[in-house]
């Protein structure tokens, strides 16, 4: 009954609408049209409650699926929305005002309930929301003045018929789906996902984790408030508290899980099954059992079953069906197939970048100009011979000195290698530069001190980095990750993105264009819609480098650039990095183990041992330095040389 409009919008230039989406949308339109023409008013009024549940479940999923926060208080939020709507609506104002107030009040309450999540995580958040649910039931919902026991929200004239009410409920579902789609396509969704999957590294993208969480609670609460308001308009006065009790909160969780977190279509279907079938079906076929008694038990059993055997729920089934349709249609149309080999995968060489084959290529230079055109302070554009000057950098963890007084320099247009054995402090140095390790000394970027600046500030100044173990979100698509990396480049507030005001569309189009250019530089443009986690490891690493390049960095810090790549692929990556340096003017500091890579690529090499600088010089000098050889291979009779 609802469109499968979940996820970023599909009308990006260069990306085709998937056939499965068309089929899904057509099916949704058909079901809605049938319900409007073929059903009696009584049935329609039942469908109103189904839609209310669907809105509540979809908004709960926004919190659970996107932001990874389990709320067990959504039943009470529904009640808070309904009672606020009755309070306002019974005072003779326009019903839309009542709906808006209900959304605002519930959003505010949900934000309050979400406050503890700034300090606690996971299970503890669930417990805190549970405590609120119980508190609301016995403290708030037992007070006649709070639940507006003596007031009635008279049904407005234009909503008198069940049909009109049903249309209102459908509009609420549609609005919820639009909000979900907006969240998915703008900053807000990327904040939620980063908070969920990579909370510790979120600053690299410029994400403020606390604000992101609260925004998720506020959005989810406002939408439940909408559901509550529809319920209030339908009932006028609510005396029975059943729809707002713990049981309902748990059932909403059950609907989300059975429907499949993240799948709007699955969740709507689950809502229809759990709330609709008991009333719409007379009796369970072949028996005299009343479905309103059987369905809840079946859905509880389904909840357990789904968690154990099919964690992606109904949505997983629908997604598989959609993928099947896309394959059938796509094969006919000759589109890029999902099972096609990808660059960086086993036995597939990283194709030479289509744009950077020759540095003189006009298209490449244009792409380069676009990528480095990032709003930055003027001083970052001043010609400076040294991009990075580190002097006496020391990092201490408790009594252990992980890095002692390391000094090194990256000059403009240089690729500098950082080598050393395990535990030598290479990654620690990168962490110090990017702001993830507490350092003393001095780290200057283009002449300005970096120490004391937050990680997200350093990224915004142009210090981009990759992580040894991949700092991206594997559960999301390549394109989403590319956009997440550019999060700090989107200059609109996350909340404005959901509403869609203030040049959001223009900004998003610009970010997508940058993402496309960066992917093309690495020959990855065909993978934009693939889930990152489904790609070979080497490809994921390439995507991560492309994501950082998309932010137009002045200095690129690569932690083990060639890990996961074969010899031939590593050579091609080396070529690509040199091209990047030549066309984009990006200086690089690369942690590397692969000797041919270092000899071919690096202009200068530093070698660390036990947190101190052991040697430096040209790649050949360092590789032949006896101290370096001893550090890697040991000395004495057992050593190789």
């Amino acid at each position: 009954m609802a469109a499968r409009a979940e996820g970023p919008n599909r009308r990006r230039p260069g990306y085709r609408a998937r056939p499965s989406r068309v089929v899904g949308a057509a099916a949704a339109v058909a079901v809605v049209a049938w319900s409007l023409t073929g059903l009696s008013d009584l049935r329609l009024s039942i469908l109103v409650s189904v839609a209310v549940t669907a809105v509540a479940a979809l908004s709960l999923d926004l919190l659970v699926g996107r932001a990874g926060e389990l709320s067990l208080a959504h039943g009470s939020f529904l009640g808070i929305g309904a009672f606020s709507a009755i309070h306002v609506g019974s005072r003779g104002v326009h019903w839309l005002v009542a709906v808006l107030v209900a959304m605002a009040v519930t959003g505010a309450v949900a934000t309050l309930v979400g406050l503890p999540s700034l300090r606690i995580r996971g299970l503890q958040v669930a417990i805190a929301t549970l405590a609120f649910q119980v508190f609301a039931e016995v403290f708030l919902f037992t007070r006649p003045d709070l639940v507006a026991a003596t007031r009635t929200f008279g049904r407005p004239a234009e909503l008198r018929t069940d049909r009109a009410l049903y249309l209102l409920a459908l509009a609420a579902v549609a609005l919820t789906l639009v909000v979900r789609a907006r969240v998915g396509a703008t900053k807000a969704g990327r904040v939620f996902v980063a908070v969920r999957d990579v909370p510790d590294r979120a600053p690299v993208f410029g994400v403020e984790p606390g604000a992101g969480k609260l925004l998720a609670y506020a959005c989810s609460g406002a939408l439940v408030g909408l559901a509550g308001a529809v319920l209030a308009i339908k009932a006028g006065n609510i005396t029975a508290k059943d729809p707002f009790l713990l049981l309902e909160s748990l059932q909403l969780v059950a609907i989300v899980v059975v429907g499949g977190t993240g799948s709007a279509a699955g969740i709507v279907a689950a809502s229809v099954f759990v709330k609709g079938t008991p009333q719409l079906v007379g009796s369970v076929p072949g028996t005299d059992l009343a479905p309103e008694r059987v369905i809840p038990i079946v859905s509880a059993a389904l909840l357990v079953l789904v968690i154990v055997v099919a964690p992606r729920g109904l949505g997983g089934v629908l997604r598989a069906a959609g993928a099947w349709i896309d394959r059938r249609v796509g094969r006919a149309a000759g589109a890029h197939r999902a099972d096609q080999p990808v660059p960086g995968g086993h036995g597939v060489p990283v194709a030479p970048p289509s744009g950077t084959r020759t540095s003189a290529d006009g298209r490449t230079v244009a792409a380069a100009r676009t990528l480095v055109a990032v709003p930055r302070p003027l001083w970052t554009r001043m010609p400076q011979p040294a991009v990075l000057e580190a002097a006496g950098v020391t990092v201490r963890y408790g009594g252990i000195e992980a890095l002692s007084a390391v000094s090194l320099e990256v000059r403009r247009g240089e690729i500098v290698g950082l080598i050393g054995t395990n535990g030598a402090g290479k990654s620690t140095f990168l962490n110090a530069v990017s702001g993830f390790a507490p350092a003393t000394g001095s780290i200057r970027y283009l002449g300005r001190e970096l120490l004391g600046r937050a990680p997200q500030v350093r990224v915004a100044l142009g210090v981009g980095r990759t992580f040894q173990d991949l700092g991206l979100v594997r559960a999301e698509r390549v394109l989403d990750n590319m956009l997440l990396a550019q999060h700090w480049l989107a200059d609109y507030p996350a909340a404005a993105g959901i509403v869609g005001i203030g040049g959001v569309g223009r900004t998003e189009r610009a970010l997508r264009e940058r993402a496309r250019l960066a992917l093309e530089l690495f020959g990855l443009e065909g993978l934009a819609d693939r889930r990152l986690g489904a790609l070979p490891y080497g490809t994921m690493r390439l995507v991560e480098i492309a994501a950082v390049v998309a932010t137009g960095p002045g200095l690129l810090l690569l932690d083990e650039a060639t890990a996961g790549l074969g010899t031939g692929e590593a050579a091609l990556l080396a070529r690509r990095l040199r091209d990047l340096r030549d066309t984009l003017g990006i200086s690089m500091l690369v942690i590397e183990h692969h000797v041919p890579f270092i000899r071919d690529t690096c202009d200068h090499v530093y070698c660390l041992e036990s947190g101190s600088l052991l040697a430096q010089g040209s790649p050949d000098e360092v590789a032949d330095d006896p101290a370096v050889v001893a550090s890697f291979l040991g000395t004495g009779a057992g050593a190789l040389r």
Binding site: R121, A126, I297, L303
Partner: protein
């Protein structure tokens, strides 16, 4: 005042029986169970039904005291079944998945109770008899006294079990690191099963002691008590048995003093909410828990 203190402590003691089970499961599997209120309730429902209508097949009416034993045995069996069929398959998955699964079990049992035993409050006679004693001017019913005694016994037994027995050591090893424990030859699966069965038995006992004191048994009511037990466990520290008992006693006391003291509906729950959220914010590992419990 003394009466309120004593009833509060006794209620808290009954909560602590559930809380100890929840903590035991959390220590072994890092899973938070919300199912144990309903597991215990189901056991006691079965006990009451058999006492009233005779055991199926046998026609024998168990005496009143046996309702408690039936509750313990049935709840332990149900809990073991839930572990075997559901929870075991979720080991190693995201903690929220396991939490939602226990919610599913609770929901299923509550709805099944509604089908089997009806929605009306079921009169629950005390399995221990209706005797009461007077302590310092306050009367205390037999069930409440038993709850206090049972909590004390459980506390001592748990202490001895963890320090004096090989299996207790195995449980502690599993808490520390299940993978290493398995490599050391600890039967980790048996430890998981033990935790769930023991927690089920304790939940059955708690149901048989709580329901008579609170005027009967309805589907889903025990989950509310279990939530207070959970609050106690969170306050005391999710991985500390002693903490769970102390926290539950505190919750019982606060509930009795605030709820009975102010006479405002819901004030007890408000106080518990403040306690739980305050504790989570100020000391997320609880009073006696380790940082690993966060």
């Amino acid at each position: 005042m003394t009466a309120r203190l004593l009833t509060g402590l006794a209620t808290g003691a009954a909560y602590s029986l559930v809380a100890v089970g929840v903590v035991l499961i959390f220590r072994c599997t890092r899973t938070l169970s919300l199912a144990h209120g309903e597991i215990g309730a189901f056991g006691f429902f079965v006990g009451l039904r058999w006492a009233a209508e005779g055991m199926p097949g046998l026609g024998w009416h168990p005496p009143r005291f046996a309702t408690l034993l039936i509750a313990v045995v049935v709840a332990a069996a149900l809990s073991g079944l839930a572990e075997r069929l559901v929870m075991r398959r979720l080991v190693g998955r995201a903690p929220l998945d396991a939490l939602v699964a226990t919610l599913g079990v609770a929901l299923f049992l509550a709805l099944a109770e509604r089908e089997l035993f009806g929605t009306a409050t079921q009169f629950a006679p005390s399995p221990i008899g209706e005797g009461r004693i007077v302590i310092a001017g306050a009367t205390l019913s037999a069930v409440r006294l038993t709850a206090l005694g049972a909590a004390a016994v459980v506390a001592v037994a748990a202490g001895l079990f963890f320090t004096r027995t090989r299996f207790g050591l195995a449980v502690r090893a599993t808490t520390g690191d299940p993978t290493v424990a398995r490599l050391m030859g600890v039967p980790v699966r048996r430890v998981y099963a033990f935790a769930w069965i023991a927690a089920g038995a304790l939940a059955g006992l708690a149901a048989a002691l709580l329901a008579p004191a609170f005027g009967g048994l309805t589907p889903f009511a025990m989950t509310r008590f279990a939530l207070r037990a959970l609050a106690g466990a969170v306050i005391g520290g999710l991985d500390s048995i002693g903490g769970a008992i102390a926290g539950s006693l505190l919750v019982g006391l606060v509930e009795s003093l605030v709820g009975g003291g102010t006479g405002v509906a819901g004030s007890a729950e408000a106080a518990v909410l403040v306690l739980v959220v305050g504790m989570l914010l100020l000391r997320p590992q609880g009073l006696f828990g380790t940082v690993g419990a966060r």
